[in-house]
C-alpha cells in the first residue's frame, strides 16, 4: 500500500491535479439531493459511456459501404464471437439512453431545475436531447437494412418540403441524387465522429455547469426562487446542511447506474440485437418500413395530419417546439420550484406524455397501413359464408379479389385502414353501399372503373348479409314505399 501511495504522490507532484479532483469530488451538496430522483443524469452519462465502448467495439468490424454493410452485420450476428451481444448491447443501450434522457428532462423540469441560475444548463440539456435523438436516428441508418433505406426516403421527403432550400438539403442529406453509398458514408461520419464529439463536448459543459452552479436543491413548496437572493440562499443551504458529494450522495447514483447497465445487459441477452431486417435492395418492395421505437410517434403523426396541413406543420412544428424549450428558462426563470405548486407544469407533462405515448402506441399498431397480403393470405370467417346464395358468395370472392380485405377487416382479420365491415349492412343501405363502392370517398378510392356491374351487384349482395342475426339491415324507407305502392 505504501508503494501505491508513493507512486501516486510521484505522479501528483508532477500533474498537480489531486487536490482539485478531491475538492470536486467532495464538494458539498444539499442533504436532500442525495435522492433516488437525482440519479438519472449520472445514469444517462453511464449509458453514454457504454455506447462509446460498444460503439468502438462495433467499429472494429463495421464496413460503412452500402454494398457490404448489411453482410457485415450478418457476419457480426452469426460468425464473430459475441458479435451479436455487442450489437445487442449497443442497440438496447441506445433505447435506454433516449429513455433516460427523457426521464431526466421531465424530472429536472418538475423540480424546477431550469430556473435561475441554471438556464444555460437546461439549454445545453436541450442540445443533448437533440444530439441523442440524432444518434438514435443515424444509428438506425447504420443498420442499413430495408427500414434504414426507406427511412432515409422518408427523411428526404420531409426535408424536401422546406421552401427554397428543400432540394439542396435533400442532396446534402443523401450525399448525392439517390440513397446509396455516399449516404451511408456520411451517416457513418456523423454517427461515429461528429455527433459523439458534440455529445462529449456538451456533456462536459453540462457537468461543469452542475459543478459550478451546484446541483438543484430539493424543491420545497413556498421556497421561491428570486434572482436577487437565490445564490446566497443556496450557499447557506449547502454549507449549513450540506453533505460531501463523495461519499455521502454518490451512492444512489452508483447503484442506479449499475442497475441500468444490468438491465441493458439482460435485454441484450434475452431479446438479442435489432435486425438487420431485409437487405437494402430497393427492388425488393415487399416491405412495410417502420422506424425505431422512439420515432414511431412521428410515423403515426405523419399518417394522421390532414394532407393540406402536413407540410406547414412539419416545418413549423419542430421550430415552435424548440423555441418553447429554449425560451422556457427565461420565461419561468423565477418563482416556485416545487411541482406541488406548479399545476400547469404538471399538466403540461401529462399532456405531452399522453400525446407522445398515444402516438407511439398507434405507431406500434399502424392501423392506417393497409395489410398488403390480407387479400390473398387471410380468409373470410366461415360463418359469414355459411347459408349464403351463390350471388352473395360470388360477392365474397370479389371482396377478396379486389383487395378490399387489405383495408377492411372482417371477423378481426384484414386491414384497419377503413372501417371494419362485420355489420356494415346495419349502417348503409343497398344504394349507399353501391355509391360508396363506385364513387369512393371518405379516404376510399373509387372502384367504378374497376368493377363490372355484375361484380358490383355481387359485392353489394354479400355486404348486405353483414349484419348481426337479430338485427335487420338498413333500408331506404322511401324505396320500400315505392316498391309497395308504385311511384
Amino acid at each position: 500500500m505504501r508503494l501505491v501511495g508513493r507512486v501516486s504522490r510521484w505522479f501528483d507532484d508532477r500533474f498537480q491535479l489531486g487536490a482539485s479532483i478531491k475538492a470536486t469530488m467532495e464538494h458539498p451538496v444539499p442533504r436532500r439531493t442525495a435522492s433516488w430522483f437525482y440519479v438519472f443524469g449520472s445514469a444517462a452519462m453511464t449509458v453514454f459511456a457504454l455506447q462509446l465502448v460498444t460503439g468502438i467495439l462495433l467499429a472494429f468490424q463495421y464496413v460503412p459501404s452500402a454494398g457490404e454493410a448489411w453482410n457485415g452485420l450478418q457476419a457480426l450476428n452469426q460468425q464473430v464471437s459475441s458479435g451479436w451481444f455487442i450489437r445487442a448491447l449497443h442497440g438496447w443501450g441506445s433505447n435506454f439512453m433516449v429513455a433516460i434522457v427523457l426521464v431526466h428532462m421531465v424530472q429536472v423540469f418538475l423540480f424546477g431545475a431550469h430556473k435561475f441560475p441554471r438556464e444555460l444548463t437546461w439549454l445545453i440539456g436541450v442540445f443533448l436531447l437533440l444530439f441523442t435523438l440524432g444518434m438514435a436516428f443515424s444509428g438506425q441508418i447504420l443498420r442499413f437494412d430495408q427500414d434504414a433505406y426507406w427511412g432515409l426516403g422518408i427523411g428526404a421527403s420531409i426535408a424536401s418540403r422546406i421552401p427554397l432550400i428543400g432540394q439542396t438539403l435533400v442532396k446534402l442529406l443523401l450525399g448525392g441524387p439517390i440513397i446509396a453509398g455516399a449516404t451511408l458514408a456520411r451517416f457513418f461520419a456523423l454517427h461515429v465522429f461528429v455527433v459523439p464529439a458534440l455529445l462529449i463536448l456538451f456533456v462536459s459543459l453540462h457537468v461543469i455547469l452542475v459543478l459550478k452552479l451546484g446541483i438543484n436543491d430539493w424543491p420545497m413548496p413556498g421556497r421561491i426562487v428570486r434572482r436577487s437572493t437565490y445564490l446566497q440562499e443556496y450557499k447557506e443551504l449547502t454549507h449549513r446542511d450540506g453533505i460531501p458529494f463523495v461519499p455521502s450522495a454518490v451512492g444512489k447514483d452508483i447503484i442506479f447506474s449499475g442497475a441500468i447497465l444490468l438491465a441493458i445487459a439482460a435485454c441484450a441477452f434475452f431479446f438479442g440485437p435489432f435486425g438487420p431486417k431485409g437487405p437494402p435492395d430497393p427492388t425488393i418492395i415487399q416491405t412495410a418500413p417502420r422506424p425505431d421505437f422512439f420515432f414511431l410517434w412521428l410515423y403515426a403523426l405523419l399518417s394522421y395530419l390532414p394532407p393540406s396541413a402536413e407540410t406547414p406543420i412539419l416545418i413549423i412544428g419542430p421550430a415552435i417546439g424548440l423555441a418553447v424549450l429554449f425560451a422556457l428558462p427565461f420565461i419561468s426563470g423565477e418563482g416556485e420550484k416545487s411541482w406541488k405548486r406548479r399545476p400547469i407544469a404538471v399538466l403540461t407533462i401529462i399532456l405531452v406524455v399522453g400525446i407522445f405515448g398515444s402516438l407511439t402506441k398507434l405507431g406500434l399498431h399502424t392501423p392506417w397501413s393497409p395489410k398488403m397480403d390480407a387479400w390473398s393470405g387471410e380468409p373470410i370467417p366461415e360463418k359469414m359464408l355459411a347459408d349464403r346464395t351463390p350471388l352473395e358468395r360470388q360477392g365474397a370472392l370479389v371482396f377478396k379479389a379486389k383487395q378490399c380485405h387489405n383495408c377492411h377487416a372482417l371477423g378481426g382479420t384484414g386491414g384497419e385502414r377503413g372501417p371494419a365491415l362485420d355489420v356494415v349492412a346495419v349502417r348503409l343501405t343497398k344504394d349507399q353501399l353501391i355509391r360508396q363502392v363506385i364513387q369512393g370517398g371518405g379516404n376510399m378510392p373509387a372502384y367504378g372503373k374497376n368493377l363490372s356491374p355484375a361484380e358490383t351487384a355481387a359485392l353489394v349482395a354479400f355486404m348486405e348479409t353483414l349484419h348481426p342475426p337479430g338485427q335487420a339491415p338498413a333500408i331506404d324507407a322511401s324505396q320500400v314505399a315505392v316498391d309497395k305502392h308504385g311511384p
Binding site: 424536401s160 428543400g166 446509396a180 416491405t287 383487395q403
Partner: protein
C-alpha cells in the same frame, strides 16, 4: 525606439490576420467538397434503357429496374432503382417512380383492383398514377420516356421527393401526372 510590448502585440495581431487569411483560402476547397453532392452530375441527362418493349404487354403495369446513371463503387444494390411501367397502347407509356408522393415509401401495384397502394401510410393511386386517397397531396411521380430501337428509355437521375420545386415544371426529369 518603439515600445517592445506593443510591437509584440502588433506581431500577434498580424499573426492572427495571417492565420485568418490562410483559413479563408483553405475554406474554399472544404466548402466545395461539402457542397459537391448538390452539383448536377455529368451523366444526369443520359437516357437509360428499361429493356425491349416486348417486356411490357399492352394494358398491363409491370415493374422494371434500372441502374442509376450516377453510381459509386460502394453503392451495391442501392443503385438499382425500380419503377412501374404502364403500357397504355402500342406507343403510349407511363413510367412511374416507385416512391410514394407522400414520404417516398415503395408503392405496390395491385392489378386486380387497378390500384397502387403504399404500405407506410396507406396512400392509394389509380392506374394512371393519379391520387385516389390517403395522405399524398398529388399523383405518382412520372419519368420522361421515349421509344427508340424497340426499347423503352427513360431519363432518371435522382430520387423524386414531394418538395415544392420538384419536377413540376416539365423541364426536369420527372413531371407531374
Amino acid at each position: 525606439m518603439a515600445d517592445p510590448i506593443s510591437r509584440r502585440s502588433a506581431l500577434a495581431r498580424i499573426g492572427l490576420i495571417f492565420n485568418g487569411v490562410v483559413a479563408a483560402v483553405l475554406a474554399v476547397p472544404v466548402v466545395k467538397y461539402l457542397k459537391s453532392p448538390t452539383r448536377k452530375p455529368a451523366k444526369a441527362d443520359d437516357w437509360i434503357s428499361l429493356g425491349p418493349l416486348s417486356q411490357f404487354p399492352v394494358g398491363e403495369t409491370r415493374m422494371a429496374a434500372f441502374r442509376n446513371p450516377v453510381v459509386n463503387p460502394s453503392d451495391g444494390k442501392t443503385a438499382d432503382i425500380p419503377c412501374w411501367v404502364r403500357r397504355v397502347d402500342e406507343r403510349k407509356f407511363q413510367v412511374f417512380a416507385i416512391n410514394c408522393a407522400h414520404l417516398g415509401c415503395p408503392v405496390r401495384w395491385f392489378a386486380q383492383s387497378n390500384l397502387f397502394l403504399c404500405p407506410c401510410h396507406g396512400g392509394a393511386y389509380y392506374a394512371d398514377g393519379s391520387r385516389a386517397s390517403g395522405p399524398p397531396e398529388r399523383g405518382l411521380f412520372e419519368y420522361v420516356y421515349r421509344i427508340e430501337g424497340n426499347e423503352l428509355w427513360i431519363q432518371a437521375q435522382e430520387m423524386p421527393t414531394p418538395g415544392p420545386t420538384a419536377y413540376n415544371d416539365g423541364k426536369r426529369h420527372l413531371k407531374c401526372v
